[in-house]
C-alpha cells in the first residue's frame, strides 16, 4: 500500500490532464512541497482523460473557452504532443450553414484561421466522404489531436524535476477535514487517504467526474454530473491503414447528426452527442476493479448509438463498410457536464480548498495554468469568471438542477444555440413578489441566477401601433428570436413618460462593523468615504487592474454600507467582498438578497409619479442624484410603506431604485403602476433595462464590456483623480493611466442593415469589426475587435454596437464594417469614450 507524505503546502487530487497541468504550473510558479495523489495508477488512472478522443476544435462562441483552448494548444505544441490534422464541421441543412457563418464570426473575432468551404473541398481532403450528404463545411486548418496521457506525464515529470513534487498513485481520498474560522467561515486542514493523512492548507480537487464526491467530503457543492458520451471504433479500414501515424485525414464533425468521425491509426472513431442524456451519479461510478476497461469506460448501450451508426454510414459508407472493418471497441465514456456548460474553477467557500473540474482535454493545460496563476497571484491572465465556482447560487448547487439542465443541454453539444436561448427545465426557482401580477400582464420571463425576470410585457403590445416603425421591427427570424419589438416600445414609453421595472434579481449585501469603511475603500476604486446617504457607482478591480465587477455602494451609516450588484455575478462579488473582511470577525457581510426587493422607476414623469405617492421631498434639490434615504410611500392598499430610495439610473432617465422588504414589494409594485398609469407609465422588462436603455447611454456591463482582461482606462471609465486610499488594483490602475491604451471601447452605429438578399439584419453581439472593405483590425494586445454588446437604440433610431477598437481606429466618424453571417454592414464610430450618444450632457437624469 502506497503511503503519502504527512504534510504538504498544496495537495492536488487527481492525475488527469488537469491535475498534471496544475502540478506543472504550480511548481513553475514557485510552489513548494506539492503532493499529487490519485486513486488510480499512472499514467492512466482511469478518469475521463484516459478515454478521451483527444481532438481539439479551436473555435467556440465563448471567448473564455476559446482562449483556454488556444493556450492549451500552445502548451500541447510545446510539449510535442499535438498533431495538426485540420477539421471540418459539416452542414446538412441551410439552418446549420447559417450557424457556420456565425461560427466564422467567432473565428474572425478570436483571430483563428477558418473558412467556409464547399463539399468538393471537403471531398478532396476526405476522399471517403459522400459529398451529397451535406451542403457545406466550416474548415479550421489548425484543428488537431493530442496525446493527453503523454502530455500529463511530461508535465508531471517537469514538476518532479523541480524537486518540489511528490506523486502518490493508488491512494484514495477518504476525507477532507476543515476547521472553523471567523464569522462562519471554514478552512481546509487535512486530506485523509487510504495511504495516510496529509496536513495541508491548500488542496485542489482536480478529480473530474469524482469531484462532487470529494466536494461532499468538505461540505462544498461541485455541481457537475458524470454523463455518457458514446464512442465506437471501426477498423481496420484499408483506406486508413495505408497512411502513416495516428491521423492523416481531417476530423469531421457532422454537426446536424451530432456525430464526429476521427481517424485513429487504421481505425475510425465515431463519437456521438445525439443520444439521450445518460447521466450517472458520481457514487455509481465503478471502482477500478469493478470496471471492465476503466471506471469511466462504462458498458456500451448499443440501442442508443444505432441511429448515429446509420448516419455515419451514410456519410462514409466505403470506409465504415470496408471489408474487414469491424466494431471492436465501443464505450459509454463518462465525462463531466455542468448546468451552464462551463468548467468549475477557483476557491470554494472553504478557504484553501480549490477545484478545477468539468474540464475537457481541449482546455486542460490552459485551465491548469490559469488556476495555478489564480492560486499564486489571486488572478489569472485569461479571465475565467464564467467558470468561477463562486458563480453558483444555492439552487444551482442542487444535483437535481445539474441533472435537469445537463439533460436539456446534452443534445445541444453540437446544437445551434441562440445567444439569448433560455432553458426550459428547472425554472421558477426564484420568483419575485410581483410574479403573479407580471404573469397577468403577459410577461415573457427570462432567467437570471434562477430569478424569473420579465423581459417584456405582452400587455404593452398595444404600444406597437402607437410607435410604428420606431420600434425597429426585425425581419429575420434569427434576429427576432428571443426578442420582441415590444421591448423597444416599452423603451420609447419610458423615455416619453416613465417605466416601472422589477429588479428583484439584484444581489444585495450589507457590510457592517467598525472596519466597514476600510473594507469598501479597499475593494472599490471610487471614493467610498462619503457622507451617509450617498450612492457610489464603482469599478472593482483585481490586483493586476482587471475588472472584478462594477457595482453600486450606498452608505447607510458610518459603519454600514450596502452593496448592490447584478444577480448573475452576485455570488462571485459576495465571495470577493467576504474574502476581504478582516480576520477579527468584527465586521460582517450579510446577504439581503432574499429579504429585499428592488423596483425601479425611471422616465421624465418618474418624479411626478413618486411624489404622488409620498409626502417626502423628492425634488432635485431635496433628493439629489446619487443620494439615498428612506421615504414613506402610500401603498396600493391604503397603508404606508417605508422604502429605501436611491436616485441612480442605468437607463439614463430621472428616477429611483426603491428597496422594500420582499413582503411589501408587490404592494409597492401595484402602487407605482396605479399611480403611474395616469402619467402614461408602463411596466418595462429587462430588455429595456439591460440593453436598450444602457446602450443609448453607453453604459458598460460586466461580463460583456468589462472583465478581468479589460482596464478602466480602456473602458473609458477613468475619472480625473484617483483616491488617496489604497485599494486592490490601485498600483496597476495608476500604471494603466500613465500608459497609452492598447484598445479603446467605442460605441458604433450601424449605417445600413440591408443584406445581399434584401433582408434587414440586426447583429446580436460577438460579431467581428473590420475595415469597410473587410480588412482585419488588430489592437495593441494582438486581439481583434468584436461586438461586446449589440442592441436597438430606439430613441436614436439606430442599432448600436459596443466594441474595443485599436486606438488609431477610435475616432468619431471613423467608417468601419461589422461582419454578420458572413456579410459586411457599414458602421460608424459614434463615441470613443463613455460619452453617451443620447443626451450627452445627462440632462434627462436631473
Amino acid at each position: 500500500m502506497a503511503e503519502v507524505p504527512a504534510t504538504a503546502d498544496v495537495v492536488v487530487i487527481g492525475a488527469g490532464i488537469v491535475g498534471n497541468s496544475l502540478v506543472h504550473h504550480l511548481t513553475r510558479l514557485g510552489w513548494k512541497n506539492v503532493v499529487q495523489i490519485d486513486k488510480g495508477a499512472l499514467p492512466n488512472p482511469g478518469g475521463s482523460t484516459g478515454h478521451a478522443s483527444n481532438f481539439i476544435f479551436t473555435v467556440d462562441h465563448s471567448r473564455e473557452i476559446t482562449d483556454l483552448t488556444l493556450d492549451s494548444v500552445a502548451q500541447y505544441q510545446e510539449m510535442g504532443v499535438f498533431t495538426q490534422s485540420g477539421g471540418f464541421e459539416i452542414a446538412r441543412t441551410e439552418e446549420r450553414m447559417e450557424e457556420l457563418r456565425r461560427r466564422m464570426s467567432s473565428a474572425r473575432a478570436w483571430g483563428i484561421e477558418a473558412e467556409l468551404v464547399s463539399p468538393s473541398f471537403v471531398k478532396e481532403k476526405v476522399p471517403f466522404i459522400e459529398e451529397d450528404q451535406f451542403i457545406g463545411a466550416f474548415w479550421t486548418p489548425g484543428v488537431g489531436v493530442v496525446d493527453s496521457l503523454r502530455a500529463g506525464t511530461i508535465m508531471r515529470e517537469r514538476a518532479l524535476a523541480t524537486g518540489e513534487l511528490t506523486v502518490v498513485p493508488t491512494v484514495e481520498v477518504t476525507g477532507l477535514d476543515t476547521e472553523d474560522g471567523p464569522h462562519g467561515t471554514r478552512r481546509i486542514t487535512r486530506v485523509r487517504t487510504t495511504g495516510g493523512d496529509i496536513e495541508a492548507g491548500t488542496v485542489v480537487i482536480a478529480a473530474g467526474v469524482w469531484s462532487p464526491k470529494l466536494g461532499d467530503m468538505a461540505g462544498i457543492g461541485i455541481p457537475l454530473t458524470p454523463a455518457v458520451h458514446q464512442m465506437i471504433s471501426v477498423g481496420p479500414c484499408p483506406q486508413l491503414a495505408e497512411t502513416d501515424g495516428e491521423i492523416s485525414f481531417p476530423i469531421v464533425r457532422d454537426m446536424d447528426t451530432f456525430c464526429y468521425e476521427r481517424q485513429h491509426g487504421a481505425d475510425m472513431e465515431v463519437g456521438s452527442y445525439a443520444h439521450r442524456a445518460i447521466l450517472h451519479e458520481p457514487e455509481d461510478i465503478p471502482s477500478i476493479d469493478q470496471a471492465k476497461l476503466s471506471p469511466t469506460e462504462m458498458p456500451f448501450t448499443e440501442d442508443d448509438f444505432d441511429p448515429q451508426l446509420e448516419q455515419a454510414y451514410e456519410l462514409m459508407p466505403e470506409l465504415l463498410g470496408a471489408e474487414g472493418a469491424e466494431m471492436r471497441y465501443a464505450i459509454n465514456g463518462l465525462l463531466s457536464l455542468t448546468c451552464d456548460g462551463n468548467p468549475i474553477l477557483g476557491e470554494s467557500e472553504v478557504a484553501g480548498l480549490w477545484t478545477a473540474s468539468a474540464v475537457w482535454i481541449k482546455e486542460g493545460p490552459g485551465v491548469g495554468r490559469a488556476v495555478a496563476e489564480w492560486m499564486t497571484h489571486g488572478h489569472s491572465e485569461i479571465d475565467v469568471h464564467h467558470s468561477d465556482i463562486a458563480r453558483f447560487h444555492t439552487h444551482q448547487k442542487r444535483r437535481e438542477h445539474t441533472r435537469l439542465r445537463t439533460t436539456e443541454s446534452f443534445i445541444k453539444t453540437y446544437g445551434i444555440i441562440h445567444p439569448s436561448e433560455q432553458y426550459e427545465s428547472d425554472r421558477d426557482q426564484r420568483l419575485s413578489p410581483m410574479h403573479g401580477s407580471q404573469q397577468k400582464l403577459g410577461a415573457v420571463f427570462f432567467e437570471t441566477a434562477g430569478w424569473e425576470r420579465p423581459f417584456w410585457y405582452e400587455s404593452n403590445a398595444s404600444l406597437l401601433e402607437h410607435y410604428g416603425d420606431a420600434v425597429m421591427p426585425r425581419e429575420h427570424e434569427w434576429d427576432a428570436r428571443w426578442w420582441s419589438p415590444i421591448i423597444n416600445a416599452e423603451h420609447l414609453r419610458m423615455r416619453e413618460a416613465a417605466a416601472v421595472i422589477d429588479l428583484s434579481a439584484f444581489c444585495i449585501f450589507d457590510i457592517e462593523g467598525p472596519e466597514a469603511l476600510d473594507v469598501v475603500q479597499g475593494t472599490c476604486v471610487a471614493q467610498c468615504d462619503v457622507a451617509v446617504g450617498k450612492v457610489i457607482y464603482t469599478p472593482v478591480l483585481d490586483a493586476k487592474g482587471g475588472f472584478r465587477s462594477d457595482l453600486t455602494v450606498m452608505r447607510l451609516g458610518d459603519d454600514h454600507f450596502r452593496v448592490v450588484t447584478g444577480g448573475a455575478h452576485g455570488m462571485a462579488d459576495r465571495a470577493w467582498f467576504a474574502g476581504h473582511l478582516p480576520e477579527s470577525g468584527s465586521t460582517t457581510l450579510t446577504d439581503r438578497t432574499d429579504d429585499t426587493s428592488t423596483i425601479g422607476i425611471w422616465g421624465p414623469r418618474a418624479r411626478d409619479i413618486l411624489s404622488s405617492l409620498t409626502a417626502d421631498d423628492v425634488s432635485d434639490a431635496g433628493f439629489g442624484f446619487l443620494s439615498c434615504r428612506e421615504i414613506t410611500v402610500a401603498s396600493s392598499t391604503g397603508g404606508e410603506l417605508t422604502v429605501l430610495a436611491s436616485r441612480i439610473s442605468y437607463v439614463g432617465e430621472l428616477g429611483w431604485e426603491l428597496y422594500v422588504p420582499m413582503s411589501q414589494a408587490a404592494d409597492l409594485w401595484e402602487a407605482l403602476l396605479d399611480a403611474g398609469a395616469p402619467h402614461g407609465a408602463v411596466p418595462a422588462g429587462i430588455g429595456v433595462y439591460g440593453t436598450t436603455g444602457r446602450l443609448e447611454k453607453g453604459y458598460r456591463a460586466y461580463g460583456a464590456e468589462l472583465d478581468g482582461e479589460r482596464s478602466i482606462v480602456e473602458a473609458g471609465m477613468q475619472r480625473p483623480k484617483v483616491k488617496a486610499a489604497d485599494f486592490v488594483g490601485k498600483e496597476a490602475y495608476l500604471a494603466q493611466r500613465d500608459a497609452a491604451p492598447q484598445a479603446v471601447l467605442c460605441t458604433l452605429t450601424v449605417d445600413d442593415h440591408t443584406s445581399a438578399s434584401g433582408t434587414k439584419r440586426y447583429m446580436l453581439g460577438g460579431e467581428p469589426i473590420l475595415t469597410r472593405d473587410g480588412g482585419t483590425l488588430t489592437d495593441g494586445h494582438g486581439h481583434h475587435p468584436y461586438v461586446t454588446s449589440a442592441g436597438s437604440a430606439p430613441s436614436l433610431g439606430t442599432h448600436v454596437l459596443l466594441a474595443y477598437l485599436p486606438p488609431d481606429q477610435a475616432t468619431i466618424g471613423n467608417e468601419l464594417a461589422v461582419s454578420y453571417m458572413e456579410e459586411l454592414y457599414p458602421v460608424t464610430v459614434g463615441s470613443v469614450d463613455a460619452t453617451p450618444l443620447l443626451d450627452p450632457m445627462n440632462e434627462r437624469i436631473r
Binding site: T170, G265, D289, Y329
Partner: protein
C-alpha cells in the same frame, strides 16, 4: 451409499480431481453418519487403481465393461452409472467437476429428471441438503439446495485436498456390464489422436509465458512485450479484454475460457488478474506481475511483482537482458 464416478487416466491411474471427489464424498459420508462410499470406473481396473481407491476408503469399485465402453459416450457412461446406482441404492451420485464429470452427471440428471449442481466446493447442510458451488468461473459462490434423492453434483477441482482415508475401504471390485441402448452410442468418440500442435499449443507447453492485459493500452502497445517474449523465447499470452478489443488474436488468450497454462515462469504485464484470467494461469510455478496498481489481484496473488508502467519497465528489462548477454 455415495457413488463417485472416478476418471482413470490413460496410464490407468485415478486422476487427482477424482481422488479429491472421493475425499469429498468421504467427508460427506462422515457427516451423514458413515454411509459407504463406492466408486464407478470405466473399464476393468488394474490392481494399483483398486489399491489406491481402497486406501481412499472406497468400499466397492464398480467397473463398467463391455463394448459400449470402448470409447467415450456420455450417455453410455450415464446409463451405467444409473444402473449401478439403482442396484446399490445410493443417496448421492457425484463426480469431479471436470468436462467428463460434468457431462456424465448432466446425462444422469437429464435421464432421471433430477437437478444437478456443478462444481460444488462444500456442503452447507444435510437437511435440506445444500451445497456451495462455484459460479461465474469461481468469482462467486452459489448456495444450492438439492432436496431430491439421489443428490447429483460434481466437485470443483481443488475444493478439497485429495487424501487417503484413516481406515481403508474394502476395495471390492464389481464388474458390471450394463445393457446400453444403441441410441446412447450414437454420440461417441469415433477417433482420438494426439492433439495436432495448434496455434495455442506452444502457449500450453511453454516454460515461460509473457502475459499482456489492458495495460498495454492499445493494439500498438505490444512492441516491447513481444520483444521481451522473443528474448525469453516465450510465447505471448493475453487476457480476455485484449482479444475482445481485437488487439491480439484469440488463440493467444489465457484464462478460464482460453488456454490454461502451467509454465515455470509467467510474467503478466498490465493484467489486473480477474478470476477469469487467474483460472488459466494459477498453476504457473512462479508469477512475476508487472502492474501499475500494487493492489491489483494479479499482484497480490503473484510470487514476485514490479510496480509501475509496463511501458517503462519492459523496455528496461529488455535492455538489461541485452546488456548481460553482451
Amino acid at each position: 451409499m455415495i457413488l463417485v464416478l472416478v476418471e482413470v487416466s490413460p496410464e490407468g491411474e485415478a486422476v487427482e480431481t477424482s481422488r479429491e471427489a472421493v475425499t469429498f464424498a468421504r467427508d460427506l459420508s462422515a457427516a451423514g453418519g458413515g454411509v459407504p462410499v463406492d466408486a464407478v470406473v470405466v473399464g476393468a481396473p488394474g490392481e494399483a487403481l483398486v489399491g489406491v481407491l481402497a486406501s481412499y476408503g472406497v468400499r466397492r469399485v464398480h467397473a463398467l465393461t463391455g463394448a459400449a465402453y470402448d470409447s467415450f459416450s456420455g450417455a453410455a457412461w450415464a446409463a451405467g452409472l444409473i444402473e449401478v446406482r439403482e442396484r446399490a441404492g445410493s443417496v448421492v451420485v457425484t463426480a469431479a467437476g471436470t468436462p467428463r464429470g460434468n457431462e456424465v452427471l448432466a446425462h444422469v440428471a437429464a435421464r432421471t429428471g433430477l437437478p444437478m449442481a456443478a462444481n460444488a466446493i462444500s456442503f452447507a447442510g444435510l437437511s435440506p441438503f445444500t451445497v456451495t458451488r462455484q459460479v461465474v468461473s469461481g468469482a462467486a459462490l452459489e448456495e444450492m439446495r438439492l432436496s431430491e434423492r439421489p443428490a447429483l453434483f460434481t466437485i470443483a477441482g481443488h475444493a478439497v485436498q485429495a487424501a487417503p482415508a484413516d481406515v481403508p475401504g474394502a476395495g471390492e471390485v464389481v464388474l458390471e456390464t450394463p445393457d446400453v441402448a444403441d441410441a446412447d452410442l450414437v454420440a461417441r468418440v469415433v477417433s482420438s489422436e494426439e492433439p495436432e500442435p495448434d496455434l495455442s499449443g506452444t502457449l500450453k507447453s511453454a516454460r515461460v509465458v509473457v502475459g499482456a492485459g489492458r495495460g498495454a493500452g492499445s493494439a500498438d502497445g505490444f512492441g516491447d512485450l513481444l520483444e521481451l517474449a522473443d528474448l525469453l523465447d516465450a510465447p505471448l499470452g493475453v487476457s480476455r479484454v485484449v482479444t475482445s478489443l481485437g488487439w491480439r488474436p484469440h488463440h493467444e488468450q489465457v484464462g478460464q475460457t482460453g488456454s490454461r497454462i502451467s509454465p515455470d515462469l509467467y510474467i503478466p504485464c498490465g493484467i489486473s488478474g480477474a478470476i477469469q484470467h487467474w483460472a488459466g494461469c494459477s498453476t504457473a510455478k512462479t508469477i512475476l506481475a508487472i502492474n501499475s496498481d500494487p493492489d491489483a489481484p494479479m499482484v497480490t496473488k503473484a510470487t514476485h511483482a514490479v510496480i509501475g508502467d509496463l511501458h517503462e519497465i519492459v523496455p528496461a528489462i529488455n535492455a538489461e537482458i541485452r546488456r548481460r548477454r553482451g
